[in-house]
């Protein structure tokens, strides 16, 4: 077989799948699950440190997508990025045993990196890790405490013994660093 010929793989279109979900197509939801369940589950597991609880978050988010697909439209950015952020927020809510602060429909994301294709996703993940490793340990810790543990800037300042202003700067500049490195 001539391996060099290759085949073009259509990563599909998230919006087309979401439209099919709106029409009640279970297979479309299954395809979206195959595409993004890893991202949602990994974020939830990192935050909750409990596989059962992470599975519950995964289930809840995709059930919401099934019940309310209109909550996501193309104006909200890329579906993969949107799901990653929703997974983070819902996991932190569960960790802190609190009600969601906002509706998923209010979560609008600027056009983010395309995550539809598994290969692209792997490259993006690798690049994020490289950028995170380039940050100073203090900055990385501040970012991770804010994102994965849901600590406020004040709580991080108390936990690390650093001034509040320093924590704010570290988080803001860390996010800016990620944005710059992924800018087209």
């Amino acid at each position: 077989m001539d391996k060099s010929a290759g085949t073009r793989r259509d990563p599909g279109d998230d919006m087309r799948l979401v439209a099919r979900v709106r029409a009640g197509d279970q297979q479309a939801l299954a395809e979206l699950y195959d595409r993004y369940s890893n991202v949602v589950y990994a974020v939830a597991l990192r935050i909750l440190q409990d596989t059962g609880a992470a599975e519950d978050i995964l289930q809840d988010i995709f059930l919401q997508l099934w019940r309310k697909p209109e909550a996501f439209d193309s104006s909200r950015g890329s579906l993969g990025a949107w799901l990653a952020v929703i997974a983070r927020h819902r996991s932190i809510d569960k960790l802190r045993q609190r009600k969601p602060e906002s509706d998923i429909e209010d979560c609008v994301i600027a056009n983010a990196t395309d995550l539809r294709d598994e290969t692209e996703r792997s490259l993006v993940i690798e690049k994020v890790r490289v950028v995170m490793n380039e940050m100073s340990p203090d900055q990385r810790t501040a970012m991770e405490l804010a994102f994965f543990q849901g600590l406020t800037h004040t709580e991080i300042a108390e936990k690390t013994g650093e001034p509040l202003g320093t924590i704010k700067t570290r988080i803001r500049s860390g996010l800016q660093m990620l944005r710059t490195r992924f800018a087209v």
């Binding site: 077989m1 001539d2 391996k3 060099s4 010929a5 290759g6 085949t7 073009r8 793989r9 099919r20 029409a23 009640g24 197509d25 279970q26 939801l29 299954a30 699950y33 369940s37 890893n38 991202v39 589950y41 990994a42 596989t51 599975e55 995964l58 995709f62 059930l63 950015g77 890329s78 993969g80 990025a81 952020v85 983070r88 602060e101 979560c107 609008v108 994301i109 600027a110 983010a112 990196t113 995550l115 294709d117 598994e118 290969t119 996703r121 792997s122 490259l123 690798e126 690049k127 994020v128 890790r129 804010a146 849901g150 406020t152 800037h153 988080i171 996010l175 800016q176 990620l178 944005r179």
Partner: protein
């Protein structure tokens, strides 16, 4: 009342949903009238999604999907999915569509035959290449290594394990590719490693199969690629030994930065 700059300071906290009470209400009021801050919140969420990706790596158990599919099957919606249509006999109005479908199937058959002919041609070409003198092969290798546009890419693990390592050398003008890999785990029976060229646009392209020796080393020389393919990255997956047209397993090592 805070200034715009003071509100801007709170935006990361708001994007993280950690701004509470009056501060949150005050900022949301500001967002209603400040397009720049609204846009910045959207960008911050995009940045946060990238941060979330740093956690990626663990796949959910298979049972999770089964559980989800059972749950959604239990709550179907009015408008049903494009499921198979019930047969009610063929109406005359469908005849053009049936003819078109037949033509499509015929065209598909022709395309497959065409692919097979290409395949056979490629096999004959490969056979011819194998009978070339070693001197010629060595010359081609030297030409690849010394080509002005030859690039060297080191492939490192996609996961936290940093054991396996591979380097590819690829020249678009020479249409040739070389790979040297170390520290590879033995391929399970019936499996082999497959290298993928990830082009600037489109799906990954198969770029050769290889198996490591008992020391985990593997070398793939002189793999031919189609003309005019610019590589964005290379990746390696484990596939059936017969090879695959598209990756079917997670990426083991990947390298980019061309």
């Amino acid at each position: 009342m805070k200034t715009h700059e003071q509100f801007a300071e709170d935006l990361p906290l708001y994007a993280l949903e950690e701004l509470k009470g009056d501060e949150r209400l005050e900022l949301e009021k500001h967002l209603e009238t400040c397009a720049a801050c609204r846009r910045e919140v959207q960008f911050l969420r995009s940045d946060l999604s990238l941060l979330g990706l740093s956690a990626a790596g663990t796949r959910p158990p298979v049972r999770s999907k089964d559980r989800l599919m059972r749950a959604i099957a239990a709550e179907p919606r009015g408008t049903s999915a494009p499921t198979p249509v019930r047969r009610r006999g063929l109406s005359w109005g469908l005849i053009p569509a049936v003819i078109a479908l037949g033509l499509l199937v015929w065209a598909g058959t022709l395309l497959r035959q065409n692919d097979e002919l290409h395949h056979n041609l490629a096999s004959l070409a490969a056979l011819y290449n194998n009978t070339s003198a070693e001197l010629k092969q060595a010359q081609e290798r030297v030409r690849l290594l010394s080509a002005p546009d030859a690039v060297q890419v080191a492939l490192s693990p996609a996961s936290a394990q940093k054991m396996p390592h591979a380097t590819t050398i690829y020249s678009p003008s020479q249409k040739r590719l070389m790979l040297v890999a170390t520290n590879l785990a033995p391929a399970p029976p019936g499996k082999a490693y497959e290298l993928w060229l990830i082009p600037m646009e489109g799906a990954p392209m198969p770029a050769g199969m290889f198996k490591p020796d008992e020391k985990g080393n593997a070398v793939m020389m002189d793999h031919q690629m189609p003309e005019g393919v610019t590589a964005k990255a290379f990746a390696v997956t484990l596939e059936d030994a017969a090879g695959s047209d598209k990756p079917t397993s997670p990426i083991l090592i990947v390298g980019s930065g061309l």
